[in-house]
Symmetry: C2
DNA sequence: ATTCGAAACTTCGTATACGAAATATTCTAG
DNA sequence: CTAGAATATTTCGTATACGAAGTTTCGAAT
């Protein structure tokens, strides 16, 4: 999976930081915007809040972000990069840029890939797939149970 | 994630079968080749055997494949689609074809996407990313532990 | 033949992600 | 002002994936 290949690629680069690819992306988005609520961040990244929630806790745990309830609205959790987080991200970005440069992927390929993926994604997300009608299932005669 | 968008797309189509996208792909590969050992299948799909192993068990559990030790070499597990599995796949493929047709993605886009992803993937997999040097970590003063 | 290494598979721990359901807080009708 | 809807986050269960470590089986070289 391309997905995991990228994960490994980044993982190698910043194993010691406690950051993973997903957390790196989160941190990057936070630094760009300064601070965001959990749901703002998840919307921006296009993942569900329940995915971001535990990651944000871990990131706060290692000190790259701060994580506090919004006094204006006690339902919200506000996420904000720390000094340390900024420093980490700066170093990480340098490494990533360097590593990508070594990668010999043209800028066109990169932007084409991104454009294509997002078109594919929105097409697939819009879709209302039809269900199939099931052929008759055989009995479980002597088979192991699923799981 | 495009990845998950596809997962949901297929999932909707064949929820009742106990198949998921990953299992559908496995079944499809198996039907194409007739039968394969676990490691042959995982190599073909480009995933690790330890990912395929539990999925194969579940698929055998619902009766879409057979899963037996190779008498020639007792280390090997041979996977082979059942009649039921063939029927399921046939129905699933029809639905998938239909759903894709509804999707309005041109054939060029599709093949371009595939080509691009595999180029990206092999570039990324070949790479030897450099590690970053870590800025000094702050103390854990009053923070929650990670996790 | 016995040992030693390689190969195939499984198990274990971890990391993303999701949907569904639970909880807490704020807002809104009446 | 209070009941109930809406919003924000968390928790829970499930599904892929991976790497590392363990088990069993096979093959090879002494």
């Amino acid at each position: 999976m391309l997905h995991h290949a990228f994960g490994r690629f980044y993982q190698t680069a910043f194993a010691e930081t406690g950051l993973t690819y997903a957390k790196y992306v989160m941190l990057k988005a936070l630094v760009e915007k300064g601070k965001m609520s959990l749901s703002e961040l998840s919307a921006r990244l296009g993942v569900e809040p329940n995915t971001v929630s535990p990651l944000a806790k871990k990131m706060a745990g290692v000190g790259v972000i701060e994580r506090v309830r919004d006094p204006e609205d006690e339902r919200r959790i506000v996420l904000c990069p720390t000094e340390y987080g900024l420093a980490i991200l700066k170093a990480a970005d340098q490494t990533v840029t360097q590593n990508f440069a070594d990668l010999e992927i043209s800028a066109e390929d990169r932007s084409q890939a991104i454009a294509l993926m997002s078109r594919l994604r929105s097409a697939v997300e819009q879709a209302s797939p039809k269900r199939l009608e099931l052929p008759e299932a055989p009995s479980a005669e002597g088979r192991d149970p699923p799981d």
